[in-house]
């Protein structure tokens, strides 16, 4: 197959290496928006998605203040590998980084809902430690977003569904979030990562295979194989709903003072249990 843009042999989708990289970076830049003069905190795990996000954020905004923020959940034999990658690339790209560890390692507190617990705590720590920056940029890709949309529908999580792209209630302690990979698939991110010659351990979280997300991921990928474009259509359908946030009241957690809709926030419920 020939590249649709230049006629050279295609390597990914309908593009050759050069044209794919151009397409990918153009889509990323569109997702990033105009961040001139803003301070940028990039959430990183050391995996392909977040390293790509960090690299391109620096590429497009080299003069902005940028911090790479890694939340270490304390998963033995998994996270230490990608921390090495973050350190290597942060040095190479001249970006300062900060590593925040879970107060209690996930291995010790997970119970039977490792992914839910991890998700609540990661969002909590990211929001808390990104404070002071104008924007928090995350490496969620199209697959992550399409999966989350379906999971929230299947589980009838109405409020989570509504706040997928922004908090339901605005609050001065909520950092604005941007997901520049939201319209790029996991396969495209991996292809870009390989074509740029980057390298990082491609391990899967040991808890991932037992999660509901894994069930949805497998089903959605089978569907995407038979009906290409389905993931993008899920995201576009969600966006067309035009869900808006409000300026309603949000109280603070009695233990940590972080914004919470209840007396005790979800993170403190987990950490104090």
């Amino acid at each position: 197959m020939k590249c649709e843009s230049c006629g050279k042999p295609a390597v990914v989708n309908k593009y050759c290496k050069t044209c794919f990289i151009k397409y990918f970076e153009k889509e990323f830049k569109k997702g990033l928006g105009n961040l001139k003069g803003k301070s940028l905190c990039v959430a990183v795990s050391g995996g392909k998605d977040s390293l790509t996000t960090l690299y391109l954020t620096k590429k497009f905004y080299p003069k902005n203040k940028i911090l790479a923020l890694l939340i270490d959940e304390g998963i033995k034999g998994y996270r230490p590998h990608t921390i090495k990658s973050l350190k290597k690339y942060a040095k190479e790209w001249d970006i300062p980084y900060k590593i925040v560890k879970f107060e209690k390692p996930l291995d010790d507190i997970k119970g039977s809902r490792a992914c839910s617990v991890c998700g609540v705590l990661r969002r909590y720590y990211l929001n808390k430690h990104a404070r002071g920056f104008d924007v928090l940029i995350t490496g969620h890709n199209l697959d992550d977003e399409a999966q989350a949309t379906l999971m929230n529908v299947f589980m009838r999580y109405a409020s989570r569904f509504k706040r997928m792209t922004m908090p339901l209630v605005t609050h001065k302690l909520f950092i604005k979030r941007i997901k520049p990979l939201r319209h790029l698939s996991e396969r495209e991110v991996m292809a870009y990562f390989i074509l740029k010659g980057f390298d990082t351990p491609m391990d899967e979280c040991p808890y991932a295979r037992s999660s509901f997300r894994d069930v949805v991921r497998t089903a959605l990928n089978e569907f995407e194989c038979k009906h290409p474009g389905s993931k993008l259509n899920i995201i576009k359908a969600y966006d067309s709903l035009n869900i808006s946030n409000s300026t309603g009241h949000l109280s603070s957690c009695i233990y940590c003072n972080e914004p919470s809709s209840n007396e005790v926030c979800q993170a403190c419920k987990i950490l104090r249990n």
Partner: protein, 62 residues
């Protein structure tokens, strides 16, 4: 051909496209990329059977 990158190294007698290889191995092309002789290969690329092939699962992380 020797196929690397899966849980185990596999010796497989195959000629055809990259897409056909993935299907023959019962792997979803949405979840995998294929490196042929060190270069990322398009699904339509024809394999003669003597290439060095590495299959990469694109799903990683949590």
């Amino acid at each position: 051909m020797i196929i690397k990158g899966l849980d185990k190294e596999l010796e497989f007698d195959f000629r055809g496209s990259v897409l056909a290889l993935l299907k023959a191995l019962k792997l979803n092309p949405v979840e995998h990329l294929v490196i042929v002789n060190g270069e990322l290969a398009h699904e339509s690329k024809h394999l003669c059977g003597n290439e060095e092939v590495k299959i990469i699962r694109v799903v990683s992380g949590g």
